[in-house]
């Protein structure tokens, strides 16, 4: 199997009956897609179920697959739709709606270098753990955009396409997500810095 083959080529090969092509495609995307669901659903068994459903849809839709966009965009469109479906069926889920206020002062913090680079391994781990916790506190829509960005590597335009919003809305949600995460991490770092200065 040509490991340099593009995702789209692999999917076309799978459409033609090449199961090895699917295996390579799966290997490339399984981790990111799995984490996309793990970060957005509880308990873990639900993430596994949604994850499997998406791949089942990929398998079933193979005969209709055509290269109209990046494979990632298609894959995460399936994932987004399955997630929304899950939210709608789950009474406890938060609705996928978020009012973004462009005048929110939190956005002013974005360019600041208020998060110190970790000095050592322990501090690095602590920062990472705090980041994951902060991610859980984000509104659904902002968290999803952040995950699409960091896990799937989609551009803002592709994220807008996957989630059915316009480019500006996608950009706004990501800016909010980044600003809130940075605020949380900065708040975490501040007391420790203060202790060191004492």
């Amino acid at each position: 199997m040509d490991e340099s083959a593009s995702d789209e080529d692999l999917m076309l090969r799978y459409r033609g009956g090449d199961a090895d092509a699917f295996a390579l495609l799966y290997e490339r995307h399984k981790g990111a897609l799995y984490r996309y669901f793990v970060r957005q659903t509880r308990p873990g068994a639900v993430a596994e179920e949604l994850f499997q459903d998406v791949w089942t849809n990929v398998i079933r839709a193979r005969e209709r697959y055509e290269v109209r966009a990046r494979f990632s965009t298609w894959l995460y469109s399936l994932a987004h739709n399955r997630l929304v479906d899950h939210y709608r069926r789950n009474a406890a889920a938060v609705p996928l709606a978020q009012d973004d206020d462009p005048n929110d002062p939190i956005l002013d913090r974005l360019p600041d270098d208020d998060i110190r680079e970790p000095d050592n391994e322990l501090e690095r781990r602590r920062l990472a753990q705090r980041l994951l916790q902060a991610l859980e506190t984000l509104p659904e829509t902002q968290r999803e955009v952040f995950l699409l960005r960091e896990e799937s590597g989609l551009s803002l335009e592709e994220i807008a396409s996957v989630t059915g919003i316009n480019l500006e809305a996608a950009k706004s949600r990501l800016r909010y997500a980044l600003a809130k995460l940075r605020r949380e991490l900065a708040a975490e770092a501040e007391p420790r810095r203060a202790r060191i200065q004492d």
């Binding site: 199961a19 791949w55 398998i59 974005l110 360019p111 998060i115 753990q129 590597g153 990501l174 995460l181």
Partner: protein, 326 residues
Amino acid sequence: MAKRKSTRDTRTDLLPGEEQLAHAYRDTAREAPPAALDAKILAQAKQAVATTVSRSNFSKRWAVPVSIAALMVLSLSVVLQVSQREVPDTYEAAPAVATAPTPQPAAPEPARKEKAQPPSETKPALTDKAHSTGSASRGPAVAQAPEMRAAGAAANDERAREAAGAPAATARSKGATDQTMTMKQLSADVTAPESQLLLNDKADVISVRVSGQPGGYEFLVGVRSPDSGCPQYADWWEIVGIDGALIYRNVLPHSHADEQPFTRAGGPVAIQPDTVVWVRAHMSNSGYGGAVFRGSIEKGFSRAPLTPDFAATLAKQPPRPPACQH
């Protein structure tokens, strides 16, 4: 641990302050699906394309003979249906299959409001996979046999429906009716009022669709269950041989209280086209006892009576669901 491979090196639209967070995130988020899930999905993918190749070969060899046979059966069924309309009410259904385990008294049969479909519109269970998925994919080669059988049997359906709606309908005639159910009718069951489907607090199997090839079939099983959360939920569906041996079990790790009815795929199931099996579901609190399907790949699946204590000890066999999480 090795660093994760970045998938975003080509992006040019980074926002201010994004790179530092992205680096921290990628450095720590490394969860991966369980190996068992990997294996399941890869087997499913492999099975799907093997089925396509098999179906393609079958189509080339059998397209013409099957078309001729189907035409003959359809013609015959129309004749039968016309003649059956003239039969008086003393009609008695054919006996149920002799190998069925001790049948329990027939469960109340749903009132069938749908008018009987003409034979030409009936669809076999095995070819109706796209019904739930919206997929354009078609069923496997083996689906041809039940289609012909279903068409031939459809002549009895209208009368069987009338019998099913009557209180005096016997278990014997019900068994015969179930044996001749077509997929069209099974799909209709899904949309019937819940009160007519649920057998008290049990989990009912309401549809069975199959694809694949001998030794590795994928089952798509529809379940309706009175899930309310961890204390009461359908925790698996399974395929059991007529000898009571567990052939395959699809474990459901959590309640589907907000998704009723639901359909879950499982497999590969290592049976042959003529292997007769039961398809049943299990409740976490009340065990077996809901509506069950019986049949084989080559003859199709239909609802059939089964005593709740049939192979009840299987409930203690692995695989069993993990601790319910919600």
